[in-house]
């Protein structure tokens, strides 16, 4: 049963990743090409649909399926890059705090507490509002804000590992501190960090969509799913599918990543 979740999650993620990578080849239309004579065409399950636009078109006549496929790129790229930025920050802090303890750990704990007190969405919105929206800025801001869980888990797992025999053996063999951190500690806490990475990636994707929805994420005409929902909002009472389609895509992707993370957690056997 639990394994099933892992495989379902993995399958969803692979499928979305393939859609994102292959978008230029499998998308039936240019996601930016407008056709004002063909606005808000309905998707395939409704009456009067046009087979050329399987999922219909948006308010500017752009093909919805093509935008959805390209939108997977935005979500995944922002998710992965954010995890890399926040992972580097959080793991560095957590490992240092957990390994050295004392003053170093006090500083790390202080940084984690401060970070938790900062309202993420508000600060991210404010920064994007001040600098103007761009995908690079969204990654930077989210990366700088979402490292707390990495730090907490890296810190606690490092504390568990640092007293174990193989670390003492490395000390006795005369290894340098950086070497012990990188080749003894880090590989042994990596599995716990992988679980955190999936959770943070899911969160980053949701936050990017929320920011874009509020008009302070990635700039139009990029096909971000959050932006598609925002653009469809004015038409949702008459053409509900314009927000159903990107919303379900977002929900399924985040669900898949979370299922994967949950399955990994069971494999690792820890409480990340």
């Amino acid at each position: 049963m639990k394994k099933a979740g892992l495989y379902v999650g993995l399958a969803i993620l692979v499928l979305v990743a393939l859609a994102a990578i292959l978008a230029p080849w499998i998308a039936p239309h240019d996601p930016y090409a407008q056709d004002l004579n063909n606005r808000l065409a309905v998707p395939f399950w409704m009456e009067g649909t046009n087979p050329a636009n399987l999922l219909g078109t948006d308010q500017l006549g752009r093909d919805y399926l093509s935008r959805l496929l390209y939108g997977a790129r935005v979500s995944l790229i922002i998710g992965v890059l954010t995890v890399i930025v926040s992972g580097v920050i959080g793991i560095t802090l957590g490992v240092l705090g957990g390994f050295f303890g004392g003053r170093v750990d006090d500083v790390v704990l202080f940084l984690i507490t401060t970070r938790l007190a900062i309202p993420v969405v508000l600060v991210a919105l404010a920064v994007v509002g001040l600098f103007g929206s761009s995908a690079v800025l969204v990654v930077t801001v989210l990366g700088l804000l979402l490292w707390d869980r990495f730090a907490v888990v890296a810190r606690s797992t490092t504390m568990q590992v640092r007293g174990l025999d193989y670390v003492s053996a490395a000390w006795a063999a005369g290894c340098s501190t950086p070497r012990i951190l990188l080749s003894e500690i880090l590989p042994n806490i990596l599995s716990h960090l992988a679980v955190v990475a999936t959770l943070e990636m899911a969160l980053a994707i949701l936050l990017e969509a929320s920011l874009s929805f509020l008009g302070l994420g990635v700039p139009p005409p990029l096909p971000s799913w959050g932006l598609m929902i925002a653009e469809g909002r004015d038409f949702m009472f008459f053409s509900a599918w314009v927000i159903w389609i990107p919303g379900i895509a977002l929900f399924v992707l985040v669900l898949g990543i979370n299922l994967l993370g949950d399955g990994l957690r069971d494999l690792v056997g820890g409480r990340a």
Partner: protein, 295 residues
Amino acid sequence: MLALLVSLTVLTLAFTLTRLSGDLAISIAGPAATQEDVEMVRRAYGLDRPLLQQFFSWVGRAAVGDFGESFFFRARVSDLILERMPVTLTLGLVGLCIALVVSIPMGILAAVRENTWVDRLVQLVAMLGQAMPGFWLGLIMMIFFGLQLGWLPVSGTGSWEHYVMPGMVLAFSAIPALTRLTRSGMIQALGSDYIRTARAKGLSRFSILFKHALRNAALPVVSIASVQLGFMLGGSIVIESVFALHGVGFLAWESITKNDFPVVQAVVLVLACIYIALTLAADMLNALLDPRLRG
């Protein structure tokens, strides 16, 4: 001590945040302003003073609750926030109540029926809730409850009915964590010696579950619940703008889009301080509930 240090750091961050973007006077004066206009704005808002001086005068006034005047609303920032705060607090509390009412019974049910289909169903529901984009759920609810069924108002702040949908959406964000925590706490409690003793004494199932087990399982739930309330108040910015609920989050969003930096600064600061206060309150509440924690 830590709380004070954190507050000071957030204060500095809130100040730096708004000075990062270059020349504020230019963005306040607007694109049509001449050089003289910009100079006038600069002097009027004290932006011609050294940065450190600006910082200390802002901190000094912020400490007594004076956040200056809003550029856009032409009103005192503290008045604006105080006026909108009840809406956000109500929303947060409604959300938290719904979340607790849903997640504690679900967690208990899952723990009592551990490893059965009931347990798995609860975990699946928590998983689905975690993946739900709040703003999207809000829109879907508007279509369903607002338009098709006509039960609830779609947007605005007028009556209690306006809080139902946003409260439910906000609750969704906290339900997964609270359910999991209740479940694991209850499983741990039910497996412990004092529960075996209680069973051996022949106490009723109800009394065992609710008087003995839940009391101990509730401790971590209480602290996470207050932390979640803090997150909800911070996250309500999205929900408030979806439902056009005129609370602090909506105010912040309006101010961000209008470059009204005194308001943005103040809201960041106020929300951070509320969060810090909530975590402190959680510690105290725990000490009250658990005699072992009293020093």
